[in-house]
């Protein structure tokens, strides 16, 4: 049996004005378990808290009920008071007789009656309270960043800057991501490589950062502060520690006709290759699908020309397991395939390209050395048509396209149009748009410059059909402002393809038990207030894996994710919320219902041996709650049919007791 003290606060006249506090403390004194009851003008004041402390000592109280303002206001205060007087802070319950009683009821009689009932419910609950201690778990002071694009790079640099070691896992042979493929960046038109490559070098040179390029995460176990991650380092057949990146092998390899993915297949590379000049790490990689030596043991040219002796045809995939305290997902995006939009003749003509391909065509390091030339015949195009929203903003149930706005296309198209007109004033540039969306600093100004200074023809309407005829692309489109159909003989058509999360994101989300939306973007712990955290504790989101983003936004989010990681890694121990779910293993049927509804993946199942009353042992499948991961929502307790799962601090019997006290 508890020894409960009841403390009724007047809150000046805030409570005492409508509630007869004397009557309340008198009535509650008669409740079961109550050994002391009093009232005071301001319970939260130092003097009020002293009354509580003294009563705890004098009456050997084990539980406290404070009838006062909302627990959202002073629960923490009174818990501290109790703790300082030597009783467990979770033995305190608050009856909210101000916000939910005296302030909303005018009549003293009903106000007093209700305050008594609320006090009674709190007493009934405290009678069943048990001391709770938040769990402590140590934190591995190392972070993992999955994805080595600008989001991952920035996050890693910021974390490393705070002094914590960081590993980047990148599935491609080099870090850099999509930004490395871009030409200029909006709205300032600085060159992407000029601002990105120094950061890539910083990453390479930072002692706190390790790069696992050409690698993938294959397994994730553990929880916040204590993740165990298995990383697969794919065999690149070149020893990273020896290769100097001289590139001799990439010039001598006889396999020349392999589409170069870095230039989106618009030129070719060898079977041994370095994706681009500023690659980090700058080491060669052998493409096993095209290498003669690996396929049929005949060749070995690269090994012969490599003076460093870095080639290793016998290399195997390696697996290593590392410990991390926090994981940042930065898996980025890709343009969607255009094969379902053949009204734009993407598969029929080389001169219908995506915007990312256009970036490569304009890039000095691209397949044309930065000269804008038609992929089909290498001629200089005079008439260019840009089509916006290809695959974005489609009907939800459409089989092709995405329901969302891809966000970045309006701005990069304005950039493309502007750059084209700037470099080649002899061109005519048409942009077909549905809406021009420019909410960003200097964005609308940028778009207006494209129209006003560079004379780009912005036409509100959509292209219906592109027909390759001769060496022209006949574009048929609507002009909604002039209410006419227009026909343009274009030399190049550029499609602003919708962007989608990288395909690696979904299996990764499963490994991380992080949730995703129907479009495979990672969901945030809270869409407004916790935008860089996943609902899974210890997993953070950076960049376009969470939703379409431009570079400034990505970098901002990357920094925000890094600061959240730093905040976590700064702690030696994580203090949990003690109000967590707890299964009674003897009652658990092992049905997995709780596991299914847990939004945090905090519940797992183990086969456990139990000693039965008849002295036999029995192996049963039972639920286990990871208290470091559980956030205490209680959803599992209702999903549990046998009542085995309960929530500490809000136990079934406690809530039943409150209900009973109110309905008495």
């Amino acid at each position: 049996m508890q020894r409960i003290g009841v403390f009724v606060c007047h809150c000046g006249t805030n409570i005492a004005g409508t509630v007869n506090v004397e009557a309340v403390s008198d009535a509650l004194r008669k409740e079961p378990g109550v050994v002391f009851s009093t009232n005071y003008q301001y319970m939260c004041s130092q003097a009020g808290q002293d009354i509580i402390k003294n009563a705890i000592a004098e009456y050997k109280l084990t539980g406290i009920v404070v009838c006062s303002c909302s627990p959202r206001m002073h629960e923490a205060t009174f818990r501290k008071t109790a703790a300082s007087a030597g009783i467990n802070p979770y033995m305190v319950e608050i009856a909210n007789i101000r916000e939910q009683c005296s302030w909303v009821h005018k009549d003293t009689l009903t106000g007093t009656e209700k305050a008594i009932i609320l006090g009674r419910a709190a007493i009934a609950k405290v009678n069943l309270n048990a001391p709770l201690t938040p769990g402590q778990t140590p934190v591995t002071k190392r972070a993992l960043v999955i994805g080595g694009g600008i989001a991952g790079i920035q996050t890693a640099l910021d974390i490393a800057d705070a002094g914590f070691p960081v590993d980047i896992v990148e599935k491609k042979p080099t870090i850099g991501g999509k930004m490395a493929q871009l030409d200029k960046t909006f709205p300032t038109l600085d060159c992407a490589a000029c601002i990105l490559t120094p950061k890539m070098v910083d990453v390479a040179q930072n002692e706190k950062i390790r790069i696992f390029s050409y690698s993938e995460v294959t397994e994730v176990h553990g929880f916040v502060g204590n993740f165990d991650v298995t990383i697969k380092k794919k065999a690149r057949y070149v020893r990273e520690d020896i290769c100097t990146g001289c590139g001799a092998c990439t010039e001598k390899c006889p396999q020349k006709k392999i589409p170069n993915e870095f230039n989106l297949g618009m030129d070719t590379r060898r079977a041994i290759y370095i994706p681009f000049a500023q690659a980090v790490p700058k080491v060669a990689t052998i493409d096993p699908d095209h290498c003669n030596m690996l396929k049929n043991g005949k060749c070995g040219v690269c090994s012969k020309v490599c003076t460093a002796g870095a080639i290793d045809y016998n290399a195997k995939d390696e697996f290593l397991t590392e410990k991390y305290g926090a994981i940042v997902v930065a898996t980025g995006f890709n343009p969607i395939p255009m094969d379902k939009f053949d009204e734009f003749a993407y598969s029929q003509s080389k001169d219908v390209i995506t915007s990312l391909e256009f970036e490569r065509l304009m890039n000095a390091a691209g397949p044309t050395g930065g000269k804008l030339l038609r992929p089909s015949d290498g001629e200089h195009p005079h008439t260019l048509v840009f089509v916006q929203c290809v695959g974005s903003r489609c009907e939800a149930c459409a089989e092709k396209g995405k329901e969302y706005c891809s966000k970045i296309c309006c701005m990069y198209t304005a950039k493309h149009a502007m750059l084209t007109r700037d470099k080649y004033p002899d061109t005519e540039v048409y942009v077909f748009y549905i809406d021009v969306r420019t909410p960003g600093k200097n964005f609308d100004e940028f778009y207006r410059r494209a129209v006003e200074e560079y004379g780009v023809h912005y036409i509100k309407g959509m292209v219906g059909k592109v027909s390759p005829e001769g060496n022209k692309l006949k574009v048929q489109a609507s002009d909604l402002i002039e209410n006419r159909q227009i026909h343009i003989d274009a030399d190049l058509v550029v499609l602003a393809a919708a962007i989608e999360p990288d395909k690696s994101a979904r299996p990764l989300a499963t490994m991380l038990t992080a949730s995703m939306d129907t479009n495979d973007f990672f969901t945030e712990a809270h869409p407004k207030l916790r935008p860089v955290e996943s609902p899974t504790a210890g997993v953070f989101l950076s960049g376009a894996c969470q939703g379409p983003k431009d570079i400034p936004e990505t970098v901002a989010q990357a920094g925000a994710a890094a600061s959240k990681v730093i905040g976590l890694l700064c702690k030696d121990q994580l203090t949990g919320n003690p109000c967590v779910a707890h299964p009674d293993e003897m009652m658990c049927s092992g049905c997995s219902n709780c596991e299914k509804v847990c939004p945090y993946g905090a519940i797992t199942y183990v086969d456990k041996e139990f000693r039965m009353p008849d002295r036999t042992t029995k192996v049963r499948r039972v639920a286990q709650v990871n208290e470091a991961v559980c956030q205490g929502c209680g959803c599992c307790t209702v999903a549990c049919m046998s009542g085995a799962m309960d929530l500490k601090g809000f136990k079934n019997e406690q809530i039943f007791a409150e209900v009973d006290a109110i309905c008495r």
Partner: protein, 326 residues
């Protein structure tokens, strides 16, 4: 009525025991009366002499596998009617049975008669035989009486939902199809009544409950280690009801606990000594889940996620859900 005979099943059992596929068999044996057939475990070829099969083998033996499959030893042979296979799948989904330890032989079912319906019609039954669709009953005092078999079929068979075996290791006879049954007609009829009529209906039905717990004990979805109604710590412990509300509370909570997991096997109504149509509670949940969240049949596929532990962002609001009937 049944197309499979006892001998076919016994021969199959003997064969599987002999070749070591299984080391015990769950089937049925004779009870006190002709219509009173009860599930039983047979551990040897010899014991199989007592194995019976006929038109009163309605008992769903899936639930017995919860305990049996966790015991040491080899595989257990079990003969499952189509509707029993749904239960086995659901229990597999919930990790309540070890499917690897079970050798399930699917057997066709032509509908199983209930003893309680028979007892309502005649007294002192000596023997029962079915020929085609006619049931011949020999009684102690009234001689031989005949009934059409349909008179003795429970609702679950008259509105059979499926003749298809959703899981089996071996099949005797041909597999059937999922049927387009009228199993929700009765529920719809109730929904069309006024609230007062519904209240009166259920008051009439549920007040007969004697809390014998037979419905719970037979239910293949009720396999908790300890039932909340028996557990003093659950806050719901209630061994016997003291007034009419507690019956309602017991049955609502029981129906809610099995919602999304109940395969509609109808065992609850079969065993109820008070003839309470308990399946109408379960079917209400099934019907609601189908209309609100899309067609769902518990036990159809192993690993399916029941609607109560799932959601979509566009789900119906509770206020809309109760307006449907209006």
């Amino acid at each position: 009525m049944q197309k499979v005979t006892r001998d076919i099943l016994v021969n199959k059992a003997k064969e599987l025991l002999a070749n070591g596929t299984v080391d015990r068999v769950y089937g049925w044996k004779k009870g006190e009366f002709a219509y009173d057939v009860t599930p039983a475990l047979f551990k040897s070829e010899k014991e199989l002499d007592e194995f019976v099969f006929g038109d009163f083998c309605g008992a769903n033996v899936s639930k017995y596998l919860v305990a049996e499959s966790k015991k040491a030893g080899g595989k257990i042979l079990v003969f499952l009617k189509p509707c029993d296979t749904y239960s086995l799948n659901q229990l597999t989904t919930e990790h309540r049975v070890d499917r690897e330890k079970i050798y399930a032989v699917g057997i066709p079912c032509e509908g199983m008669l209930t003893g309680s319906a028979l007892k309502d019609k005649v007294d002192s039954v000596l023997s029962v035989e079915t020929e085609g669709d006619t049931v011949k009953v020999e009684t102690l005092y009234d001689g031989v009486k005949t009934f059409p078999a349909s008179d003795l079929l429970p609702d679950r068979c008259r509105n059979c939902k499926s003749k298809k075996h959703v899981t089996y290791d071996e099949l005797i006879g041909e597999d059937g199809e999922v049927l387009d049954s009228g199993r929700f007609d009765e529920v719809e009829k109730l929904e069309k009544m006024t609230p007062d009529e519904r209240f009166a209906f259920w008051q009439g039905e549920l007040s007969r409950c004697i809390r014998c717990n037979a419905c719970r004990d037979v239910c293949p979805a009720c396999t908790c280690e300890k039932c909340v109604f028996d557990n003093p710590k659950s806050g719901l412990e209630n061994k016997a009801a003291a007034d009419s509300f507690e019956e309602k509370m017991f049955h609502i909570i029981r129906a809610f606990h099995v919602a999304g997991r109940c395969t509609d096997c109808g065992e609850c109504s079969r065993v109820c000594p008070q003839h309470i149509p308990l399946h109408l509670l379960n079917r209400k949940f099934i019907k609601d889940m189908n209309t609100f969240y899309g067609e769902y049949q518990a036990g159809e596929v192993v690993g399916n996620r029941p609607p109560v532990v799932n959601y979509t962002k566009e789900d119906i609001e509770p206020s809309e859900a109760v307006k449907r009937g209006e």
